[in-house]
């Protein structure tokens, strides 16, 4: 780990401001909000994977004891298909609405069909049983290539493949092509060619806290919404759109959040809770259980990815071909686009073509998950890179160094890279003691690398100086990884005061300036930029106040260590922030400063992971015995939380590689809908994950920050698979590498 000694606060790791409340149980999460007279909402969900809804009779439920409101999609406005910006990426609001409550068809098992609000959860559940839905069952399609077949069951009769037949509907909702050079010529120049196909299953983000909301609609038509989300403003936008309300009539207050990882950037319950509140005239609380979370919220895509790679004997990549198919779930919008842009992004390859397909299936609509689309692409490409290194008898890191992108390289997705740290990260991995440590029997080591763009988007920050000189710092960026601490560190550094004098808050949509979602690894980068800008504005204001007090020109006043310093000739003493704040009434009124911006110039992140495993040849069980995550952070503002991001991403990627998968029966019914059967790694499954923070500053950020939250989940899939290959002598191309699958491969060897 490195720290810059020029900073007093940036680069240190103080205790998080929300830490004590979280460890003592006082922090309020989504389900902790209660209001007088509150009702409890429950959802009726489809028992079929694919079916027409012929009729819904809610009359018996409406007259059931304790029931005050029952709704179906008929109670929502019939929205036209319209793509709109709502958070991190575009969304079709009609799809969003019909995913919230099915209209005409159910498209996956667990799809919401109707909702009830009653005086207790038990009465609401009982009323659900009284709703009569007549279905016409339809065949389901669960596998990507089955859904792409000409005779596949069609999910949407009005969906046609772009550039394809406009007469015959299709499950292929989108296509993409990225070509460069001449791949025939490139492969002709290759001495060695490796070609393989890989599959990854549908996996869930696995956040601990289920979705929860409490909503109250006033008589004047103003909705108050409390929920756990990565973006209060996106909840506001989506809820208003689905209910055809003005955004100014919806106030969203974010709770503390028990994990999101991208998945809490959309809405499921919020519009329903608001509508039920409007219908009943009472506040309505809705909380999903784990089964609902797994059956009906967005996991990330399954994928089928084929890579063909050509290299010369001296280790130069000369050609590549990639075909990437991503399952979107019930509605269009898989991370096919970023997957295609990422798959060859780490390497200089003169000739390539990438083709991508976005395919709908009878599964829940996918949601974002850390670096959406990139882990699957990297699993395929990095596995082929490892195999190619073996065939060329090259060290896998040396082979990557030979081909790594650097400043000035033309990225596979088009533009030239500005300053990036892939080479530095690879070198740090090669020099790490882990890379050369001896291995024992049945043990193997693998390397994988990962790339993610990171993003900027819109952020705001406000600083209010209290009479004592302490500061309240307000943003609208949900804190999912310790960002309040990072925001306070930026402000402390800029203002020159102690971290403990700053109280960072995440406020609601009526009190905070607009902030896009906390996602895309953007908050420390973009909201941090807004905090820095607001702090500079505040310092400028305080210098003016001091100048007025002393009767000197503002240009003569310096700001040092949290004090305004007068010119020596004035004979005055410096004024602290507390003194300036105490006299604020006499110098122009309260001291406050804000900044809003659209942050540009997000710096790309690169990571390299080293994984050691031990395979039990008798059972096929794989244990990760040592793991090191190395990544370029640009600048680590709070190094302990940067390390936490590296470790968390690695843990999720290891789970994806070894155990996690949605298991469906042939009717499209999820079989493993709890954490006992959906097997995520827990603490005793993993070793301590070591980290190395590389710092190649991003020139577009005042402190050099890149995002760090997403890149760490990209390398593990290939790193684990290669370690298993080296331990057991079998190359697994279909995830997860579960004991039965690995044992079968070992036995077949």
């Amino acid at each position: 780990m490195s720290t810059n000694k020029d900073y007093k606060w940036v680069g240190t790791s103080p205790i998080r401001p929300d830490g004590a409340d979280k460890v003592t149980g006082k922090a309020a999460f989504g389900a902790d909000k209660n209001l007088p007279g509150m009702l409890h909402g429950k959802i009726l969900r489809s028992p079929y994977g694919h079916a027409k809804i012929k009729s819904i009779d809610t009359s018996a439920a409406e007259s059931a004891p304790g029931v005050l409101a029952v709704m179906t999609s008929k109670d929502l406005p019939d929205l036209a298909s319209e793509m709109g910006e709502a958070g991190e990426s575009a969304v079709d609001f009609r799809d969003l609405s019909q995913n919230i409550l099915a209209a005409g068809k159910v498209l996956y098992h667990g799809h919401a069909v109707a909702a009830v609000a009653a005086t207790s959860p038990k009465l609401a559940k009982q009323a659900l049983k009284l709703i009569k839905v007549e279905y016409e069952e339809l065949p389901v399609v669960l596998e990507i290539e089955d859904a792409m077949a000409d005779d596949a069951p069609i999910l949407h009769e009005n969906q046609f493949t772009p550039g394809g037949s406009q007469d015959k509907p299709s499950n292929i909702a989108g296509k993409m092509k990225l070509p460069r050079g001449d791949i025939e010529k490139g492969f002709a120049e290759a001495d060695v060619i490796v070609e393989r196909e890989f599959t990854t299953p549908t996996v869930h983000q696995g956040y601990i806290e289920p979705h929860a909301v409490t909503a109250s609609m006033s008589a004047s038509g103003h909705a108050d919404v409390w929920c756990c989300t990565q973006g209060a403003f996106v909840v506001r936008a989506m809820t208003a759109k689905v209910l055809n309300m003005d955004v100014g009539k919806v106030k969203v207050t974010p709770s503390e959040i028990g994990g999101g990882f991208g998945a809490k950037t959309t809405v499921y319950l919020e519009p329903i809770a608001v509508k039920l509140s409007e219908m009943s005239g009472r506040p309505v609380k809705m909380v999903m259980d784990r089964e609902e979370v797994l059956r009906a919220t967005g996991p990330t895509s399954a994928s089928v990815i084929k890579i063909k790679l050509g290299a010369t004997n001296d280790g130069k990549l000369v050609a590549a071909e990639g075909t990437l198919k991503y399952g979107a779930g019930a509605y269009k919008g898989s991370p096919m686009g970023p997957g295609c842009m990422c798959v060859f992004a780490s390497y200089e390859i003169p000739n390539f073509v990438v083709r991508g397909f976005d395919v709908v299936l009878n599964k829940p609509k996918v949601a974002a998950y850390r670096a959406p689309g990139a882990p699957m692409a990297a699993f395929a490409m990095e596995s082929v890179m490892n195999e190619m290194a073996g065939k060329l008898d090259l060290d896998p890191i040396d082979f990557r160094l030979e081909n790594a992108v650097k400043e000035g390289s033309v990225a596979a997705y088009g533009p030239k890279f500005p300053a990036i740290g892939f080479v530095e990260t690879l070198k740090a991995a090669k020099e790490h003691p882990h890379y050369s440590a001896p291995l024992g029997k049945n043990q193997g080591r693998g390397v994988g690398t990962g790339f993610w763009f990171n993003i900027g988007m819109q952020s705001s920050a406000t600083l209010n100086v209290n009479e004592s000189g302490s500061v309240t710092l307000i943003t609208g960026s949900a804190d999912i990884g310790g960002s309040r601490a990072s925001m306070a560190l930026f402000a402390a550094e800029e203002l020159g005061i102690d971290y403990d004098l700053i109280t960072p808050l995440v406020s609601n949509t009526e009190e905070a300036g607009y902030c896009d979602v906390t996602g895309g690894s953007r908050t420390t980068f973009a909201t941090g930029m807004a905090v820095v800008k607001a702090s500079k504005n505040l310092v400028a204001n305080m210098k003016k106040r001091a100048a007025k007090t002393w009767g000197v020109e503002v240009d003569e006043v310096l700001w040092q260590d949290g004090q305004a310093v007068p010119p020596f000739s004035s004979g005055k003493n410096p004024m602290s922030m507390a003194e300036i704040a105490a006299s604020a009434a006499k110098t122009g009124g309260p001291l406050t400063a804000s900044a809003s911006l659209t942050a540009q110039g997000a710096g790309a992140g690169f990571g390299v992971h080293i994984c050691d495993v031990e395979v039990d040849p008798e059972t096929g069980k794989t244990d990760v015995i040592r793991y090191t995550a190395i990544q370029d952070a640009g600048k680590a503002i709070h190094p302990a939380y940067v390390e936490g991001q590296y470790q968390g991403g690695a843990a999720q990627g290891i789970g994806w590689a070894l155990n996690e998968e949605y298991v469906y029966n042939d009717k499209g019914v999820l079989q493993n809908f709890g954490f006992l059967d959906y097997r995520m790694p827990v603490a005793n499954d993993l070793p301590m994950i070591d980290t190395v923070i590389v710092e190649v500053p991003n020139p577009a950020h005042p402190y050099g920050v890149r995002g760090v939250g997403e890149t760490p989940i990209v390398p593990p899939l290939a790193a684990v698979a290669e370690a298993v290959n080296n331990a057991a002598g079998v190359r697994i191309t279909d995830l997860p590498i579960s004991p039965p699958r690995l044992l079968a491969e070992i036995d077949a060897k």
Partner: protein, 81 residues
Amino acid sequence: MLQVDLSFDLQEFSSGLESLEVEATNIRELLAQLDIRFPGLGAKIEKDMAVTINGVIYQETLIEPIEDGSEIYFIPKIGGG
């Protein structure tokens, strides 16, 4: 003069033209010029794409200045998790 390269998926607007030179001093002018030459292209980029200027990605901006001689490329808008 700016060097503008069009990705494969945008070349349907330009009848297959891969690159062109455009005179513009900011992103708004750039997109307007592209729309004049290839109707619909500027609007498509503004709605669905991010603009890269000498490799730096700009999302959701029309006012970003562009220096003469810059290299321009368009990529799909990027989200995240």
